[in-house]
């Protein structure tokens, strides 16, 4: 069993700079949890506190229902993979992987068996005699993974392990780590600033900012039901479009931007929730894929909007259309994700269709989802 529990965990550096604020989190046994957030959000510090590399200022951390606050890293039964691999340069691959086992006084035969098995899983059996400097980035990271898995710990910790790899290798290693999780079925806590990694790998995602947890949920729930504006903007690429406007409570509930050059009827499902915001400013959010060209679909929830196309970006399987609202004083820019074969021209007026059933609304003051 390798559950991890954080209760009111706080980290304060002198003088009074709090980087993690009373974090509460329960990670179940065998779960793959990703901590994601921008630089300085406290995700790495949280991971390092779980590892025991950073002391906690207050609160409790338990691994397998045992409070580990004062237990040194070596006795927490964890393994960690670092961003810069942290392989021991003076040892070869075998010695690197066997180091932890030797320290724990395992029998030679057992060490040999475990290292060979891990090397087999990771496809590095032919590299066991090499020193780290003779390995490529991807091979080094595999060795780092191998060093972690030979120990068969209760919990694996990953601190941005793929950040130093090139794009292709990153995708490949991402899949390998997910496969590894299925193979060895151990609790994994993974820190990244890359939302694609978070979405594709985690059973659950913990979105953090400024030392606070903003949302904990499954990747799909985080994407479809963001708890607040920050989560909505951080998860998803290109990022969600935001628009400030007022809820108008006339015959038809609608949302209109300040100069009334653009308004949208509100969906049935949101009417009751939004009625209490009548006359008040709210933030509307719409994901780029929920803005369509007419060719894509014709549905009753689609509302047409006239736009000026500013930039087109074709990325092969899709195209990003950057536009502004026509006849609007607003300087805001928006983006839509459309099929790559859509015939569009920069500078020309065009009509796009917003799917009003997919709108998100956020309280302007608290930025919480409505």
């Amino acid at each position: 069993m390798g559950s991890v529990k954080l209760e009111n965990v706080r980290k304060t550096f002198d003088p009074n700079i709090t980087v993690v604020h009373d974090v509460n989190l329960l990670i179940e046994d065998k779960e793959f949890v990703v901590l994601v957030g921008p630089s300085g959000c406290g995700k790495s510090t949280t991971l390092r506190m779980i590892a025991g590399l950073e002391e906690i200022t207050s609160g409790n951390i338990s691994i397998d229902n045992v409070v580990v606050n004062d237990i040194p890293p070596k006795d927490r039964d964890i393994a960690m993979v670092f961003q810069n691999y942290a392989l021991y340069p003076h040892m070869n691959v075998f010695e690197n992987m066997a180091f932890g086992l030797k320290l724990r006084k395992y029998e030679k035969a057992e060490i040999q068996k475990r290292v060979n098995k891990a090397a087999g899983i990771l496809g590095i059996s032919q590299l066991l005699d090499r020193r780290p400097k003779a390995l490529s980035g991807g091979q080094r990271q595999r060795v780092a993974l191998g060093r972690a898995i030979v120990r068969q710990p209760k919990v694996f910790l990953f601190d941005e392990p793929l950040s130093n790899l090139d794009a292709n290798l990153r995708v490949q290693m991402r899949t390998e780590i997910s496969r590894l999780h299925h193979q060895i079925e151990t609790t994994m806590i993974y820190v990244t600033h890359d939302q694609v990694e978070a979405m594709s790998m985690g059973d659950r995602i913990v979105v953090m900012k400024d030392g606070y947890i903003y949302q904990v949920d499954t990747p799909l729930n985080i994407y479809n039901f963001p708890a607040n504006k920050f989560v909505a903007s951080f998860i998803g690429s290109p990022t969600m479009n935001f628009m400030l406007g007022k809820v108008q409570n006339g015959e038809m509930h609608s949302f209109a931007i300040a100069d009334n050059s653009f308004s949208l009827p509100l969906p049935e499902s949101l009417k009751s929730k939004l009625s209490q915001f009548a006359g008040q400013e709210v933030i509307l959010g719409i994901r780029p894929e929920h803005i369509h060209t007419i060719q894509q679909s014709q549905s009753p929830t689609l509302v047409s909007v006239n736009v000026d196309i500013e930039v087109l970006e074709t990325v092969g399987n899709e195209m990003f259309v950057y536009f502004s609202l026509q006849n609007s004083k607003s300087k805001d820019h928006f983006v839509a994700r459309v099929p790559p074969d859509t015939r569009l021209k920069v500078g020309s007026p065009f009509s796009l269709y917003i799917d009003t059933s997919k709108l998100h609304f956020f309280d302007k003051a608290t930025e919480k989802s409505i």
Binding site: G52, N84, P89, G100, L103
Partner: protein, 280 residues
């Protein structure tokens, strides 16, 4: 194009000429020591510039090893230098680690104090050191000389080690601590082997500080049985005459271990001096 080539050749010639000139200036006196050691006793003050003199003889070397306590002085020097080197390496490797990795009260002050001790000339410290040695009863003992040598070599060694540790990523120790090391094991199993180039510099510096030191030794070691090589060498010079042949021979032999060590460790020295200057 032709003019450019000619200019290039001239520049290269000038560079080499200057280099050769300075090499001669640096090496010739050393060769002259060898020459003097090989001369016949009646030609010691010859002004000839030849390197291997006419009728060269090894008499000075034979005399040195048979009729003088040269081997005893060498053994004494070797012992003192070895202990000073060991003390320097052990203490500096640990002190440098503490200065590099831990935050503690007085860290900055400590580092700065170590640096300040290097600003004073050795002769200025001679009197206070001598008085301290008398009070501590360390005059005429190896412990006395070893303490002084270690104390003078340590500041440089600590700074060197600290600077080198600073270039070793923290994550290596962290990985080791997670793998099962305590702080000290992480230090000696992971960090120390990686700091080998700095250890070599530290060792060499400590060794040289002890091997060729004269002034302090002359104050502390008064019993001829305890003399180190520099004191022994000085004894060839008396009020009336100086035994230049013996002086030359002994000087040449004293040089050998230092040169040999340099050659042996040069690989480490070069990598030690360049490593860490670029983050790799």
């Amino acid at each position: 194009m032709k003019r450019f080539k000619l200019k290039n050749k001239l520049a290269r010639f000038a560079t080499h000429a200057i280099l050769i000139l300075f090499t001669i200036i640096a090496v010739y006196p050393v060769l002259q020591v060898v020459t003097i050691s090989l001369r016949q006793a009646d030609r010691l003050l010859s002004t000839s510039l030849e390197i291997i003199p006419d009728n060269a003889t090894l008499n000075a070397y034979v005399e040195l090893f048979t009729n003088r306590p040269f081997l005893l002085w060498t053994a004494n020097s070797a012992f003192v230098s070895f202990v000073v080197t060991l003390t320097g390496v052990v203490l500096a490797s640990m002190a440098g680690y503490a200065f590099s990795r831990f935050n503690f009260l007085g860290k900055k002050f400590g580092l700065l104090s170590l640096l300040v001790t290097q600003m004073f000339p050795a002769t200025m410290l001679l009197l206070p050191l001598y008085i301290m040695m008398i009070y501590l009863g360390l005059i005429n003992t190896y412990i006395g000389i070893i303490v002084v040598y270690s104390a003078t070599a340590l500041p440089f060694c600590v700074w060197t080690m600290k600077g080198y540790y600073d270039t070793i990523p923290f994550s290596l120790e962290e990985a080791a601590r997670i793998d099962g090391c305590n702080q000290f094991q992480a230090f000696y199993k992971i960090i120390l082997p990686l700091a080998a180039p700095a250890l070599v510099i530290t060792g060499l510096f400590s060794f040289m500080a002890a091997w060729s030191e004269y002034i302090v030794a002359a104050q502390v070691l008064q019993d001829t049985k305890l003399w180190t090589l520099p004191l022994g060498l000085k004894s060839f010079e008396s009020n009336m005459t100086t035994e230049w042949g013996l002086y030359g021979a002994a000087s040449f032999i004293v040089m050998i271990p230092v040169v040999a060590l340099f050659l042996l460790l040069s690989r480490w020295l070069v990598s030690g001096l360049t490593l860490g200057s670029v983050k790799g």
